[in-house]
C-alpha cells in the first residue's frame, strides 16, 4: 500500500495525471473506477491475470499480446501496473486533437503500441517467425500452414525496406503510411 498505489485518489494526483496525459478530470475518475473494478484482489496494482479476467479479452485472439504490450510499455519488469501507468498507456488511444500537444497519443506513439504487440522478444524488430505467430493466432484455424507461410512472407516482403528479413519500427511506420492510424487507433473516452 505505497504512495503510488493508494486506493484513494487525491486531487493533486488527478491534476498531475491530467497534465501528463491530457485526460480531463471526469475521464480520469471514470478510469479509476474501472481500474478498481479490474483490481479484484484489491492490491492496488494490476497483474496479467487481472486483465485476462475480462471475458471479452479472453476470447480476443490478440488478447494476451495486448496485455503483454501494456506491461512492456509501462517499462515494468515485475509485471505490475499501477493506476498511473494504466492511464498513461490508455492515453495513447486518445483521438488526436489538433488543438492540443498530443504528446502521448501521436501517430508514432500509437504505432509503437501496435509494434510492441508484435515484437515478442522485445528486440526492436519483428522477425518472420514472430509475425507468423501473430498471424496464426488471428487467422490460423482457417488456412493451411503453407498458406500461412506465404501470407506471412508476402506481408514481410512488402514492408521490409532494407531486406534484412525483419521489420524495424521505422519500416513498420512507413508501411502504415497510407493507413489512417489516427482514426483507426483512437477511441472516444467518455466523460
Amino acid at each position: 500500500m505505497g504512495n503510488s498505489s493508494s486506493l484513494m485518489l487525491r486531487d493533486e494526483e488527478i491534476d498531475e495525471i491530467s497534465r501528463d496525459t491530457e485526460f480531463n478530470r471526469n475521464q480520469i475518475v471514470r478510469l479509476y473506477s474501472r481500474f478498481l473494478s479490474l483490481d479484484k484482489k484489491g492490491q492496488g496494482y494490476l497483474e496479467r491475470d487481472d486483465f485476462l479476467n475480462v471475458p471479452e479479452l479472453a476470447v480476443n485472439p490478440l488478447g494476451d499480446r495486448i496485455v503483454d504490450a501494456f506491461f512492456t510499455l509501462a517499462g515494468d519488469n515485475e509485471q505490475k501496473l499501477n493506476f498511473r501507468q494504466f492511464v498513461r498507456i490508455l492515453a495513447h488511444f486518445q483521438p488526436i486533437n489538433r488543438g492540443k500537444k498530443n504528446v502521448l497519443n501521436g501517430r508514432r506513439e500509437k504505432l509503437r503500441f501496435a509494434f510492441q504487440m508484435y515484437d515478442l522478444n522485445k528486440n526492436g524488430y519483428i522477425t518472420r517467425e514472430e509475425f507468423k505467430v501473430i498471424l496464426n493466432s488471428m487467422v490460423g484455424a482457417n488456412i493451411t500452414a503453407e498458406q500461412l507461410d506465404k501470407i506471412a512472407d508476402r506481408t514481410i516482403e512488402e514492408a521490409d525496406g532494407d531486406h534484412d528479413g525483419r521489420i524495424s519500427f521505422d519500416e513498420f511506420c512507413r508501411a502504415m503510411e497510407k493507413t489512417d492510424i489516427e482514426e483507426k487507433m483512437s477511441i472516444r473516452f467518455l466523460n
Partner: protein
C-alpha cells in the same frame, strides 16, 4: 350477323341509363377522368377488334381518312352528352393529338352515324387482304406494342449514353438534355407517334426502373464505411430531411401569403410539395458522384443520406397528403402523433422486411447446390419481392430492398460459385445502369409531356430555398457531429455535402403521382422538373471542376496491399481489446459483438461449409487469393510477351521490363545478376516459368472444386462434361468430396 352484334352492342352502350352506366363496370372509374377515358377506350377497342376479326378486316382501313369537320364536332358533342363529367378540355386535348381513332371507335360502336361507313368498308372489301388471299407477310403492330416500346426505349437510351459521352459533363446531364430534345422533336414534329409511347407513368417508374438501381446501391454498398459513419448518415437522413421540408415549406407558404406567386395554396399542399422536393435523390447522387471520384468518406455520407432519407420523405409525403385530404381544419394533434409513430413503423418495417428476405435468399442459395445455374434468380427476384411487399404495406420499399442487398451480400458470396457471384455482380450493374439511363432520358422527355404551369418566381424561390436551407442544415449538423466524431467534417467537406444534395427522379415520380384534384399540381410538377434540371445539369456539371479546384481528396485508386488487409483486421482486434480493458462500450465493441454473432450463429446457418468459429478469417484469405491471382495473371501476360519477342530479345529489354513485374527484390537481384553474368535467355525463361508455375499452382488448388461445375461454351461440351462427371461418380464417389482444408473463396 353484324347488325345483330352491332345492335346488341349499341343497345348496351346507348340504352343503359345513368345507373347502369355507373354500374360495376364504370364505378371504379368515377373520379379519375383520364382513367375513365383510357379504360373505355380499351373496352371499346377490344369489342371493336373482336367485331372486325369476325369480318376479317382491320380497323385502320375504316378510318384511313381523317374525319371531316362535321364528324369531329359530332365526336365532341357525343362525349359531352354521354359523359357529362368529362371535361371538354380533355376531349379537345385528344382531338388535338389526333386521337380521333379512339374517339371514332366509341362513336362507331354507339351507332352515331358512322355505321354506314363501316358497313361500306366491310362489304366492299378492303385493301388489306383478308381471308380471300394468302398473306405472306402482314404487319400487326398492336400485338407487340408494349414489349416493342420497352425494347426500343432501352436501345435508344443505351445508344444515347454511348454516343453522348464527354469527360466534361456527367452522363446523366447529357442524357437529360438528349431526352429533352427527343421529346420536343416527338411532340412537335412526329406527332403520329402517340404521346403514351413516350410518357413515363409514375407506376412504371416506381415498379420497374427504381428497384434495380436501389438494389445495386445496396449490394455494392461499402459496409464498413457505412458502419463507421452510421451516426452522421442517420442524422443527415432523418433530421436533415425534416428540417429541409419544414423550412422550405414554411418559407414558401409565408411568401405566398404576401402574394408573391401566381397561385395560392394551403399550408398542407405546400408542405407536401416541400416533402418531395427536399429529399436528396440516390439515383442522381450515384450518377454524378461516380464520375467525380470524391473520397469514400464524403461519398458515403451523401449517398447514405440519400438512400436512407426515403423513409423520412415517404412518411412526410404521406402525412401531409393525408392532412391535405382531411382538410387543414380537421387535423388534430393526434394525427401528428400518428405521423411520428408511422415514421418508426415505416422505417423499421421496411428494414425488417429487407432483413427477412436477405435471410431467405441466403438460405435458399445455401440449399441450392444441385441447381447452381438457377440460384442467381433468387438473388434478384427475392429482393424485388421485398420491394413490392414493403410498398404494398405502405413501408419504405427503398429501405427494404437496399438493406436486403446489404445484408445478403456476404452470405450469397459464400454460397454461390465464384463465376456465379461474378455474374450476379455484372447483371446487377447492367440492370442498374440500364434503368438509370432510361430514367434520365425520360426525365428529359417528361419535361415536354407534362402539363405545365410556369411560375418563375416560385421556381426561383424554391431553388434558392433548397440551396440555402440545405447549407444551413449541413453546417449546423456538422458542427454538432464534430463534437462527437474522431474524423471531423472540414469546411470543404461541408461545402461538398451541401452542394452534392441533388434532387432527381424520385421527386419527379412523387410529384407526378400527386392527385389531379390538387389544383396546384401542374405548378408543382413544373417546379419539380425545373429543380431537378437545375441540380442535375448545373450542379452535376459544375461539381467536378469544383471538386478539383478545391483539391478535395479523391478516392485512392491503388490496390490494397496485403499488409493493409491484415493490419485492418489486426487493428480491429487490438482496439476492441483496448475498449474492453478500459470498460468502454464503443464502436469496436459493437462491431466485435456483431462479428462474433455473425461467425458463431448467422454464418453457419446461412452459409454452406462453415463450421462454428469464434472469428472469421476468410477476408484475409480472400484478399491473399485475390492479390496472388492478379499477380499471376500479370506474370502470365509478361511471359506471353516475352515468348513473342523471343528472337529479338536483348539485355536492356529484359532488365527494363523486369521492373514492371512486382518481383520481390531478392529475385530481381537474381535476375540482374544473371544478366550481368551473361547467362542465356533460357535460364531467365526458366526462372519466370518457375515463378509462374508456382503461383498458378496455388490458384488452381483453390479452384479445383469449382472447375467441373463451370458452364461450357456450347451444348456438346456441356454434355461431354456431364458424361465425364457421371463416369467419375459411378466407380469412386469418395473422390469428389472437396478437401476440408481448402478454403471456400
Amino acid at each position: 350477323m353484324f347488325f345483330c352484334c352491332g345492335a346488341q352492342m349499341s343497345n348496351w352502350a346507348v340504352n343503359g341509363n345513368k345507373r347502369e352506366r355507373e354500374s360495376t363496370k364504370f364505378a371504379a372509374l368515377r373520379n379519375n377522368h383520364k382513367d375513365q377515358l383510357f379504360k373505355k377506350e380499351q373496352i371499346a377497342k377490344a369489342l371493336w377488334s373482336e367485331l372486325l376479326k369476325t369480318k376479317g378486316c382491320h380497323a385502320n382501313d375504316v378510318f384511313k381518312e381523317t374525319p371531316s369537320k362535321e364528324e369531329i364536332i359530332k365526336i365532341g358533342l357525343f362525349f359531352r352528352d354521354r359523359y357529362p363529367r368529362l371535361r371538354m378540355g380533355t376531349i379537345y386535348e385528344l382531338l388535338k393529338k389526333r386521337d380521333f381513332f379512339e374517339c371514332s371507335l366509341i362513336l362507331g360502336l354507339c351507332d352515331y352515324g358512322l355505321e354506314e361507313r363501316l358497313r361500306n368498308a366491310i362489304e366492299n372489301g378492303t385493301s388489306h387482304e383478308n381471308g380471300s388471299t394468302y398473306q405472306i407477310l402482314s404487319f400487326d403492330f398492336p400485338a407487340v406494342e408494349t414489349p416493342f416500346l420497352v425494347a426500343s426505349w432501352l436501345i435508344l437510351a443505351s445508344a444515347a449514353k454511348m454516343a453522348f459521352h464527354s469527360k466534361y459533363f456527367p452522363d446523366s446531364s447529357l442524357l437529360v438534355v438528349v431526352g429533352f430534345i427527343l421529346g420536343w422533336v416527338f411532340y412537335n414534329g412526329f406527332t403520329w407517334i402517340k404521346v403514351e409511347y413516350y410518357q413515363l407513368e409514375s407506376s412504371y417508374f416506381f415498379h420497374f426502373l427504381l428497384p434495380p438501381i436501389i438494389f445495386d446501391a445496396g449490394y455494392f454498398m461499402p459496409n464498413r464505411a457505412l458502419f463507421e459513419n452510421f451516426g452522421s448518415v442517420l442524422l443527415f437522413a432523418v433530421i436533415g430531411t425534416v428540417w429541409n421540408t419544414m423550412a422550405i415549406g414554411s418559407a414558401l407558404y409565408f411568401l405566398s401569403l404576401y402574394g408573391w406567386f401566381s397561385v395560392s395554396f394551403e399550408i398542407f399542399e405546400v408542405l407536401t410539395f416541400a416533402s418531395l422536393i427536399s429529399a436528396v435523390d440516390p439515383v442522381a447522387v450515384i450518377a454524378v458522384f461516380e464520375e467525380v471520384h470524391v473520397n469514400e468518406f464524403l461519398f458515403i455520407n451523401v449517398f447514405g443520406e440519400a438512400l436512407f432519407n426515403d423513409a423520412v420523405s415517404v412518411v412526410l409525403y404521406k402525412m401531409f397528403r393525408n392532412f391535405y385530404d382531411i382538410g387543414s381544419e380537421s387535423v388534430q394533434i393526434v394525427d401528428y402523433g400518428k405521423g411520428m409513430v408511422s415514421f418508426f413503423a415505416i422505417s423499421l418495417g421496411g428494414t425488417a422486411v429487407g432483413i427477412i428476405f436477405a435471410f431467405a435468399v441466403s438460405l435458399i442459395t445455401k440449399f441450392s447446390q444441385n441447381m447452381r445455374v438457377l440460384s442467381p434468380i433468387f438473388v434478384f427476384v427475392l429482393p424485388y419481392m421485398a420491394y413490392l411487399l414493403a410498398d404494398s404495406m405502405g413501408m419504405s420499399s427503398i429501405l427494404a430492398i437496399s438493406i436486403c442487398g446489404i445484408v445478403m451480400k456476404q452470405y450469397v458470396k459464400g454460397n454461390l460459385t465464384p463465376t456465379a457471384v461474378n455474374s450476379v455482380k455484372y447483371f446487377t450493374k447492367m440492370l442498374a445502369v440500364g434503368a438509370e439511363t432510361v430514367l434520365f432520358m425520360f426525365l428529359g422527355v417528361s419535361a415536354i409531356t407534362s402539363p405545365h404551369h410556369f411560375d418563375w418566381t416560385f421556381i426561383t424561390c424554391t431553388i434558392v430555398f433548397c440551396l440555402v436551407f440545405r447549407s444551413i442544415g449541413v453546417i449546423v449538423q456538422c458542427t454538432i457531429l464534430n463534437k462527437f466524431r474522431k474524423k471531423k467534417f472540414s469546411v470543404i467537406d461541408q461545402f461538398i455535402l451541401s452542394y452534392g444534395g441533388l434532387r432527381g427522379a424520385i421527386a419527379f415520380g412523387l410529384s407526378a403521382s400527386l392527385p389531379d384534384s390538387m389544383s396546384t399540381k401542374p405548378m408543382f410538377v413544373t417546379t419539380t422538373i425545373a429543380v431537378i434540371y437545375f441540380t442535375v445539369l448545373l450542379q452535376g456539371v459544375t461539381i467536378s471542376p469544383i471538386v478539383n479546384w478545391l483539391k478535395v481528396e479523391t478516392k485512392e485508386d491503388r490496390q490494397k496491399t496485403m499488409t493493409e488487409s491484415i493490419y485492418t483486421k489486426y487493428f480491429d482486434y487490438t482496439m476492441s481489446g483496448i475498449e474492453d480493458i478500459a470498460g468502454i462500450r464503443g464502436k469496436h465493441y459493437i462491431r466485435d459483438t456483431y462479428e462474433r454473432l455473425n461467425a458463431k450463429i448467422l454464418k453457419p446457418i446461412l452459409m454452406q461449409n462453415v463450421a462454428k468459429k469464434d472469428f472469421d478469417a476468410s477476408v484475409t484469405v480472400r484478399a491473399y487469393a485475390k492479390i496472388t491471382l492478379e499477380e499471376a495473371l500479370h506474370l502470365k501476360e509478361q511471359k506471353k510477351r516475352k515468348l513473342d519477342e523471343r528472337l529479338t530479345i536483348d539485355r536492356s529489354a529484359i532488365s527494363d521490363s523486369s521492373m514492371d513485374i512486382h518481383i520481390p527484390r531478392k529475385r530481381k537481384d537474381t535476375v540482374n545478376k544473371l544478366i550481368e553474368d551473361q547467362a542465356s535467355v533460357e535460364m531467365l525463361y526458366s526462372l519466370f516459368s518457375d515463378l509462374l508455375d508456382r503461383k498458378l499452382e496455388d490458384i488452381s488448388k483453390q479452384k479445383q472444386i469449382n472447375e467441373t461445375e463451370e458452364l461450357q461454351d456450347d451444348y456438346m461440351a456441356q454434355i461431354n462434361v456431364a458424361n465425364m462427371r457421371s463416369q467419375q461418380n459411378a466407380p469412386n464417389s469418395s473422390q469428389l468430396q472437396p478437401s476440408a482444408s481448402s478454403p471456400n473463396i
